[in-house]
Amino acid sequence: MTNLRAEDVSLGYDGLRVIEGLDLTLPDGKITAVVGPNACGKSTLLRGLARLHPLDGGRITLGGVDITAMPRKELARKVGMLPQSSIAPDGVRVAELVSRGRYPHQGWFGRHSSDDDAVVTTALESTGVAELVDRPVAELSGGQRQRVWIAMVLAQQTDIVLLDEPTTFLDVRHQLDLLDLLTELNRDRGTTVAMVLHELNLAARYADHLVVMSAGRIVAEGAPSDVLTREVVNEAFGLRAQVVPDPVAGSPLVVPVGRFHSSAVEPSAR
């Protein structure tokens, strides 16, 4: 039982409540995707789960233990988090950035050991950036840079990895690459992955557990095929859409309607 769990959690900024009394359990060893319209509180929820944002109420537990009762470093050895749009300092090289992921494993006078090198190497290899070791991070392409950041989180060696919109600013091919990479991690190492995603159809395809949020609450959660219906899309996004099976993966595919196009046939499915 190492579930990361939000119990009756309230979160907000300067008195403005974003999330009120929310309950969520991230299923162990699964990929969870959180989707929802802008400003629905999905990023705030993820930040709360990683203890980047103080709670206004409720608690977050890891394996039944309140995470605020844990030393930060201990939490950082169990839960990794990649915040939105991180910026690397000038001059830092790929392996140096990835090595910073070892921080929670090092003591006061911690110097990098050969163990750390091995972990960093594995992280570089599994994200496919091993050949970039000594390149300055600032000179990389967007897709490469995002892989390097993920490698840093992997070097933290946590069982749970949270990612806030990891595919933002990536083209569609790099989005797929990245989600494939996370799936590989999940399957090979049993890492629990939870991420905020914008792209509904990719979320439906890659997630085992889909959480749809709107206005600070969870509208629906469960297997994507159960959750992603026309009604739910309409309720969460205020969007008329058709939902058809994804011809590749069989997962639900949301086809939005808009004002200028309407289908000749309104399918009754879903």
Binding site: L52, P71, R72, M81, V92, A95, Y103, T122, A130
Partner: protein, 346 residues
């Protein structure tokens, strides 16, 4: 492990070695510069000494007059320049890395002007001198830092707010210093002028020992918390996710930085731009995305010593207190920094 893994692991280790070697090289280069400039400062002066006489004098041998000139006049000034420069360099590096802003430095944040205000008030209004005066300068710097703190703190310390509030205090303190001096008697005002430009010419004996010991103790304390600077440079969220107590680390670092500035300023006055420029040079030389604390310390020491030698002996037509020389070098550098930053962000 496969051969490819072994290749990568070697590359990772190699990169680390290369980077550490570069840091050591930068520090060693600056130390060498200090030794050369320091030796020069011991040899050159109104009483010309040969290298042999100078070395003999430094260890207390040889002609009594030479010993006096070296040990009482020239050596303390060199030592003071090195200690004060190191303190400013380290403090600037801490400010800049903790606030993640290359413009954050005690001169710009008003902490140095707080020290000046304390000293100038002490002399003109209270008629103080000596160590008590240094104490008042220290208090001035501390109070300004505290005031910036209180006004910038909103559920955590926000870098930009800290810098902006600090800039406000810099103006406030400079105005108060100017006002105090304008009201004072002309001769008295001339006497406190040194507290507005900075000089290392009159730091010796007990005071020098005090400043040196204080700087050493604070540097050790900095070394103890320096490890948090790596994660902090990735931003607050990343640092927290890596297990750093961001607010505690930032408060601790800034406290140490303020103490270093207050200590150095209380002895030498505000030596302009050293805390701003030394870390920038050091970071550019080391260039590993880190805070370059050791390199900044060494660069600060070298910078102040060289500037003092230049100012003292009127090299390049500049005969002035060290603070004027660093200002003349620092101001154009600041403009250049702003100009190139602009280009990069575009």
């Amino acid at each position: 492990m496969t051969a490819a893994d072994m290749g990568t692991i070697t590359a990772v280790a190699d990169l680390r070695t290369v980077r550490r070697r570069r840091q050591i090289l930068v520090v060693a280069g600056m130390v060498l510069l200090v030794l050369v400039a320091g030796t020069g400062a011991l040899l050159v002066g109104a009483a010309g000494l040969t290298p042999g006489q100078a070395i003999a004098g430094a260890v207390g041998l040889g002609d009594k007059g030479d010993v006096f000139i070296i040990q009482k006049l020239r050596l303390p000034r060199v030592e003071a320049a090195v200690v004060v420069g190191a303190a400013f360099g380290l403090a600037g590096a801490l400010f800049q890395s903790t606030l993640r802003n290359p413009l954050a430095s005690p001169d710009i944040l008003g902490i140095s002007s707080g020290a000046s205000l304390g000293a100038v008030t002490g002399v003109l209004a209270l008629g103080m001198s000596g160590v008590a005066l240094s104490g008042l300068a220290f208090t001035g710097a501390g109070l300004v830092a505290l005031a910036i703190w209180l006004l910038a703190w909103r559920k955590g310390l926000h870098s930009i707010r800290f810098v902006l509030v600090g800039v406000g205090f810099a103006y406030l303190c400079s105005s108060l210093v100017a006002w105090t001096m304008a009201r004072a008697d002309e001769n008295e005002a001339a006497g406190v002028l040194i507290w507005t430009v900075g000089s290392v010419s009159d730091i010796r004996g007990e005071q020098l020992g005090l400043v040196a010991a204080g700087t050493l103790v604070l540097s050790v304390a900095v070394a103890l918390i320096a490890r948090t600077q790596g994660p902090l440079s990735l931003g607050d969220d990343n640092a927290r996710a890596l297990g750093v107590h961001v607010d505690a680390a930032r408060v601790g670092t800034l406290l140490l930085a303020v103490a270093l500035v207050a200590l150095a300023t209380s002895a030498a006055g505000p030596i302009a731009f050293v805390a701003l420029v030394a870390p920038a040079i050091a970071r550019r030389l080391v260039n590993d995305g880190g805070a370059a604390l050791a390199a900044s310390t060494a660069t600060g020491a070298a910078l102040v010593l060289v500037a003092d030698v230049v100012g003292q002996h009127g090299l390049f037509g500049v005969a002035a207190p060290v603070g004027i020389v660093t200002g003349l070098v620092g101001a154009p550098y600041l403009l250049w920094l702003l100009a190139t930053n602009e280009k990069r962000s575009r």
